[in-house]
Amino acid sequence: MTQGYTFLEDRVISDLAFEATGDTPAELFQAAGLALFEGMADTGRIQPRVRKEIRLKHAQIDQLLYDWLSELIYLKDAAGLLFREFSVQLDQNAEWNLIATVRGEPIDPKRHALRADAKAVTYHQFEVGQTETGGWKARVVVDI
């Protein structure tokens, strides 16, 4: 299993659904971040000019993924940024600790081929877990 994502077609009537994978939880989070922004724009056209650091922690890895994606949606609106590079460090002690650096640039409707505006991450069919081969997988439905 390698880092990546697939959009799930017809999973839900009105929204954006994807499955993300990675060899490690950090890769999974990176893939999910990229899938989220690919749903909103053509990430190939986003230049990694602006850098933001994100720090989050939670005892449950699924809630941490919910918080991670929610934080990215928040930055999209609050800072007006779209991201294409996600560098995630994840450690598990008493709880999961995430330190990430994300890179992108201010939203430009002329260059970014904008798609749907993500409103929120949902708990609908939301799943995070390890696969039989030891990789990591998540299913996410985003309200748009």
Binding site: I13, S14, A78, G80, L114, A116, T122, Y123
Partner: protein
Amino acid sequence: MQINKITDYIWEIPPSEKEGMLVPARIYASEKLMKEMDSGVIEQITNVACLPGIQKYALCMPDGHWGYGFPIGGVAAFSLQDGVISPGGIGFDINCGMRLIRTDLTAADVKPRLKDLLNVLFNKVPAGVGAKGFVKIERKEMAEVMTRGVNWCIKKGYGWAQDCDRIEGGGCLPGGDPSQVSSHAVERGIGQLGTLGSGNHYIEIQVASNENIYDEKLARALGIFGRDQVVVMVHCGSRGFGHQIATDYLRVFDSAMKKYGITVRDRQLGCAPFRSPEGQAYYSAMACAANMAFANRQVITHRIREAFSQVFNEDAERLGLETIYDVAHNVAKIETYEINGKPTELLVHRKGSTRSFGPGRTEVPTLYRDWGQPVIVGGSMETGSYLCIGTQKAETETFGSTMHGAGRTMSRTAARRMVRGNDLQRRMEEHGILVKAVSMSGLAEEAGTAYKNISEVVDTMDAVGVSKKVVQLKPIGNIKG
């Protein structure tokens, strides 16, 4: 699951059909709409019927389709004492709603300048991912938006004093408490006043023709004279501000449910007792978002007036751009209904459903109190919309609720597979409807084929007597996010 036909338009699933159902679930639909109703509606509305403190029925309107937690079109009323409040019964876009603005112009006046008008509107009302509005405010003023809604707009000159008399609840839901709103929500929403959003949100230029008026007296009372009169419909909500509040409290309720011993069949139905600290905090934050949404539609109305004034070189007052009404179709409100013969305050959740009070109800503004609450029903970009009116029957049958739109039948992906945005734009132009969209793929997702037949939806509630048709409105121009 056993579904009993109660009348030609009412279908009931008894509590025996699912463990934990406290009341029956009722779906309002014609035979055809019921046959085509997606199975998610049945599953979700029966889940709603299991929520603590629910009264009488869990209801789904004829435009119902699968949603998160509640189906879209879902209505449920809860006891204030032992009932719950659930963000899943309101939606992420808190106080998503519709506003209808009349004009004294006719299609013949507008069509020659329609392209210009759409261009000006497109620039004045930003839409799509990351759009920022022209209103620049500080946090202190944002707090005033959260508590005062449209009253703040009028004070700032973004509207006319009489607008407040033509909005559900006067454009302000009491109980907003900014201290219950996260800084993330404020930072997401502070630059978004006056923006449309994306998805199915739009500004539409529509025409009211004589042959589409069902009740002339009512139409006149609402400011519609027919004769190809032009009206403007706005569909949008509380933008990132409301989305963040829903995200924040869904997370809070996800853990609060353990504390209160509540289990739900779907994590998206996360809830807390209305009287609990968490429930009260969410209600206060939701009211803030509802007020931001009312303010957003008001600021957009101000920009629409500016656009018409610029294009037609005339004051908006002289062009007759009065608000007809503004409705919230994603919200929870405290309203009084007769339960066991006694007037009782209940918390009514409407998610993709419009309030439909009849004549005499004190919540209906005095201007319309003799007639009932105007009900604005937005259709797809291709098919048209309706202005209806509420009835007293709605108050006894559906907790004063009716449909809010056409209702999707097709996923966005399926719509994109079937329709290309450019082709749709051309086809609509051939049918006399000009469209300007930020995203062509987003446009394809909103094709008329992706929706139910709105006339069938509206006719269902008209036949039941819950809302009555006043006029059908046909689109000629559309701005989409």
